[in-house]
Point group: C2
Chain length 153, copies 2
DNA sequence: TTGAATGCAAAGTGTTTGCACGTGC
DNA sequence: GCACGTGCAAACACTTTGCATTCAA
């Protein structure tokens, strides 16, 4: 029986670590635990959260290394910096598959969403104001099931 | 001859200051210069930029007052906090008319855009994952005319 | 008059950086 | 071996806060 990700019609994407190895990225233990800490779907950690996860596996790691590494990964395009409401940066390792985000206004829970290829990059000429558009970022806001339940009161 | 904003079919919106007076907001000189500093279309200032503009008119104003006031205006819903890439908050006084943003990836120039009422709040049920959606935020990224010109190289 | 707003300075987050030391390739 | 990564601590950028003073209503 095929795995869920295969059933959805795609090829299972490489892990972040695999992608970095393939690039010939110089692989230290610090970089490995960072890459492992932030991999997965629906994962959008802050630098501090990456640090917590990484240092539970490698206690001598420093915050500076986490910050440096996250910046480098972002520059390489292997993770994406996302805002999602707060001013604290979050990092999204899902760069292979174009997607958007859905965020709970109450608790901040965030999920990746994959709309059916609709979002066109078009804008009426008057509004476009001679900008050359390259991408559009979409965030859906609402209440997650748990918060919606408790919000009835 | 009607003004441009009238020709576009809308009623000219009240200024931020007018809206605050109507609310019976306690009006100090500091609050007045802050409201005047950040009003207008396509205006998305940082707190520091508001402070600069305000203190050029009222040199004794303090940053703390600017920050306190911006937070209060945001809580009242009279300005919106927007992120737009950087980790520094920006403040948008255009709360009357629902709109989105278009940002230059190179220089950060930001314009309000008003799409033709398309953005539906729908998402396939599978993707919606039982979230109760309330709004969608859209940011168009690209190059402004000036940066597009210089980017040919 | 009085509760609310202000200014100052200190403290609190989140992030970057200079430099000596350590290490993967 | 050496270029590059790491750790530390200090610096930096942005924002919030405690408290005494001032002021709009």
């Amino acid at each position: 029986m095929p795995s869920k990700s295969l059933r959805r019609g795609g090829v299972k994407p490489m892990s972040l670590l695999q992608r970095l190895k393939r690039r010939g990225w110089r692989l230290t233990s610090q970089r490995r635990v960072i890459a492992e800490a932030m991999d997965g779907e629906h994962v959008h950690l802050t630098a501090e959260e990456v640090y917590e996860r990484a240092s539970s596996r490698l206690p001598e790691i420093s915050r500076a290394t986490v910050y440096n590494t996250l910046n480098e990964l972002a520059k390489l395009g292997e993770v994406a910096e996302v805002s999602l409401g707060s001013t604290t940066k979050r990092y999204d390792p899902q760069t292979a598959r174009r997607h958007q985000h859905m965020v709970c206004e109450r608790c901040g829970a965030t999920r990746d969403v994959h709309p059916a290829g609709e979002e066109r990059l078009s804008l009426p000429a008057v509004e476009r104001n001679r900008f050359k558009l390259s991408r559009v970022e979409v965030v859906f806001w609402g209440l997650c099931p748990d918060c919606a339940k408790n919000a009835v009161a």
